[in-house]
């Protein structure tokens, strides 16, 4: 229960700040707030273009967040239970508790999706997860498994928040890689086979995630 609520709150925050931006007119202005360091999560949330200054509207902002999460949770519950009236007995308290727990979480940095990037990413993601599963299934059934496990560090250059989480979670689905640990801005990747190349694959994934979130192309990483 408590494990699922942060995720659901994320869904709420996502809807709140999601705007489709395919033409990338002003990616810089939107991406900059997300680049701030992960130190003060309790400072005023900068979730989007319509967020006012720090003076006053903190309360309204929080109420809006609560209402958005409650709405998202209620719709999910309704669809899960096929809008059955008697299921509300459990659904209503769950929605209220979920939205309230979510309101205690630090606000996530704002982000937006590129529609074209999302479609391309979904397609690529499907192909890669099939590749990864066939690779590991083949090793499981093969007599000698061809394992040469190792750990490799990889520098994280994506902004904190949704892009970085997406990157770390997707690595686990790529063939032969697993994100094992995070030390500040360095990710420790576990590899099934030390002989395969790591950097080109991850750099490719990184640029795809930049396209997905309508971020400007990587500044220093090549």
């Amino acid at each position: 229960m408590c494990a699922t609520s942060p995720m659901r709150q994320n869904a709420g925050a996502r809807v709140q700040t999601l705007t489709l931006a395919d033409r990338q007119d002003h990616p810089q202005a939107q991406a900059v707030p997300a680049l701030r360091p992960d130190t003060g999560p309790d400072t005023s949330p900068d979730t989007g273009p319509d967020t006012g200054p720090d003076t006053g509207p903190q309360r309204r902002q929080r109420l809006r967040r609560w209402l958005t999460s409650a709405l998202v949770l209620a719709v999910i519950w309704g669809l899960l239970t096929n809008w059955r009236a008697d299921a509300v007995v459990f659904g209503l308290p769950a929605v209220v508790v979920g939205a309230t727990l979510g309101a205690f979480l630090p606000p996530a940095p704002g982000w937006r999706l590129s529609l074209r990037g999302a479609l391309a990413f979904a397609l690529w993601f499907g192909v890669q997860s099939v590749r990864g599963a066939i690779d590991v299934a083949g090793r499981a059934f093969s007599p000698d498994m061809a394992l040469r496990p190792c750990f490799r560090p990889y520098p994280l250059t994506l902004p904190q928040g949704a892009p970085r989480v997406m990157f770390i979670n997707t690595i686990t689905l790529l063939p032969g890689t697993l994100s094992a640990e995070i030390h500040g801005d360095t990710l420790i990747v576990h590899m099934l086979d030390a002989r395969t190349a790591l950097e080109p694959e991850l750099a490719d994934l990184e640029s795809r995630i930049r396209a997905l979130f309508a971020l400007p192309p990587s500044p220093e990483h090549s």
């Binding site: 599963a133 499981a140 394992l147 686990t172 697993l178």
Partner: protein, 96 residues
């Protein structure tokens, strides 16, 4: 026809679940085993969900299946990372 395709997908999904389990049993350490669980079982679930969705009658059922798949995929990647991190910290954070 659709029924047959659905059954085929479910059968293929089951094969990947078996592969994940075989990997879990055969692979040498916790990290390699996590590879087997997160990847093979993830695709196994996706195939089974697709097969069931083909046989499901209503759009609501299809949406529920997609929702379940999404939550499980997110949870398995996150849990895999958390287990790996815990295992590394227990081992004293060896680096190589």
């Amino acid at each position: 026809m659709l029924e047959l395709l659905g059954a085929g997908l479910i059968g293929l999904g089951a094969v990947f679940f078996v592969a994940g389990t075989v990997g879990l049993l055969r692979f040498p350490d916790v990290f390699c085993r996590l590879h087997a669980l997160t990847k093979a079982d993830g695709l196994g679930l996706a195939l089974i969900a697709l097969g069931v969705a083909l046989q499901a009658g209503t759009g609501g059922a299809v949406f529920r299946i997609a929702l379940i798949w999404g939550f499980v995929a997110l949870a398995s990647a996150t849990c895999g990372h958390l287990i790996a991190r815990h295992a590394r910290q227990m081992a004293g954070g060896r680096h190589d």
